[in-house]
């Protein structure tokens, strides 16, 4: 009987096994969207996915929410955690206003402006008092919530839509904070300001479209 080649050597180290598990998981995760998008999701799963997808489906929202995390990281503690705590509550307040029928003026312009202003603050590494940072982020969060928090498809679970919406927003902030950790190193500080420039440029593009 000939020895067949093993997938992993029997003496594989824990590190090698861990790598193998990571590769399998990554491959599996990569395949998920192909399966999920084969059919239209309905009911509860549709509610969660619809809510989760809303904040990440618009680049203007993504830019602003990641920028909140980036700016928080640049301002460091306590802003790094206060901004992501304040943003979801104010965003949901905006959603509540929208669902209550309260109209806000120039919502799309405000959303684009949020990316422009936050991007500019990161680009210039501008430090403002904590209260001012909270007010600014909270103000823009209201418009983001008003625009996206109310767009649930009929027949879906409202609570799962809301959970998905809030989790996606929080993860975008976390992504911004994660990227913002490069602020700890000198070259990272320059790169972070560069990222602010990218956010600002994106915001200008969306502002142009909103005003056109």
């Amino acid at each position: 009987m000939t020895d067949r080649p093993r997938l992993l050597p029997i003496h594989a180290s824990r590190h090698q096994l861990s790598m193998a598990v990571q590769i399998v998981l990554t491959t599996w995760l990569l395949l998920i969207p192909l399966i999920a998008l084969a059919h239209v999701e309905g009911g509860a799963a549709g509610g969660f996915l619809s809510g989760f997808g809303h904040p990440i489906s618009g680049l203007d929202h993504v830019l602003a929410m990641v920028a909140v995390g980036l700016w928080g990281a640049q301002l460091s503690a306590p802003a790094i955690w206060l901004l992501p705590v304040a943003f979801p509550i104010m965003m949901a307040f905006g959603g509540l206003l929208g669902l209550s029928g309260v109209e806000l003026p120039a919502v799309e312009v405000a959303i684009a402006l949020s990316a422009v202003i936050l991007g500019a603050l990161i680009l210039g590494a501008i430090r403002v008092p904590l209260a001012a940072a909270l007010l600014l982020v909270g103000f823009f969060a209201v418009f983001h919530g008003h625009a996206h928090g109310t767009e649930m498809t009929a027949g879906q679970s409202a609570i799962l839509y809301s959970i998905g919406f809030v989790i996606a927003t929080g993860l975008l902030h976390a992504a911004g904070i994660g990227i913002g950790f490069i602020h700890r190193w000198e070259p990272g500080r320059v790169a972070l300001r560069g990222a602010g420039g990218v956010v600002m440029a994106g915001g200008v593009f969306f502002l142009w479209n909103a005003l056109a």
């Binding site: 509860a44 955690w81 949901a92 509540l96 209550s100 409202a158 809301s162 959970i163």
Partner: protein
């Protein structure tokens, strides 16, 4: 391990297949587990337990212990009362408003002593228990199902409270507050949906 537990909790919450069910889910394991499963598959109920557990844990060991006793007792008692009176409450603004308040309290890092937290837990238990009673009407073995619901509430409150109490590192306390802000945000959106007649 804690990170894994958080991810597992989020996945459970995300995968829960619906809001409050009009009837008990059939687990195939009898009324006790039907009751347990009913709670675990109701995101609004899970959020309520999570909010009370986090706030209790933030207040310290005494508060966490008080919540683990008062919340399931009030919840189970309210279900029984709802069944006896044959009246069940619909999810309403009071339930949502209470959870917004709890979420904001967690986000603000409020530390409630046990004697303040216990009445809050009782109130949450009564409001949610009356709503849960609607699912048990015409169910076989309703009393056993109530025991299952109360047990699930007790275990979840205990685990959440213990987790919150055990958090020592600064960033984990921050994660707790972020969790509170997420609960408040979800419930604030729910308030809007209720105002629109959707829940």
């Amino acid at each position: 391990m804690r990170t894994t537990a958080w991810i597992a909790s989020l996945a459970l919450l995300a995968g829960a297949p619906g809001a409050a069910h009009a009837h008990l889910v059939n687990s195939g394991l009898g009324p006790f587990y039907n009751g347990t499963l009913h709670l675990l598959l109701s995101p609004s109920d899970c959020l309520a337990v999570l909010a009370v557990g986090l706030l209790a844990g933030q207040g310290g060991k005494a508060s966490a212990r008080a919540a683990a006793i008062t919340l399931p007792l009030a919840w189970g008692g309210a279900v029984l009362a709802g069944l006896t009176l044959e009246r069940a409450a619909e999810p309403g603004w009071l339930e949502v408003a209470l959870l917004i308040l709890l979420g904001v309290s967690v986000a603000a890092g409020v530390r409630l002593p046990a004697w303040v937290l216990a009445p809050v837990a009782v109130l949450i238990g009564i409001v949610h228990g009356l709503e849960t009673a609607g699912a048990l009407v015409d169910s076989d073995g309703a009393l056993v199902a109530v025991a299952g619901i109360a047990t699930a509430v007790a275990v979840l409150t205990l685990l959440t409270g213990a987790l919150a109490v055990s958090l020592q590192a600064a960033w984990t306390r921050v994660a707790l507050q972020v969790g509170g802000s997420w609960i408040a945000a979800v419930e604030m959106l729910m308030l809007g949906w209720i105002l629109q007649g959707i829940s």
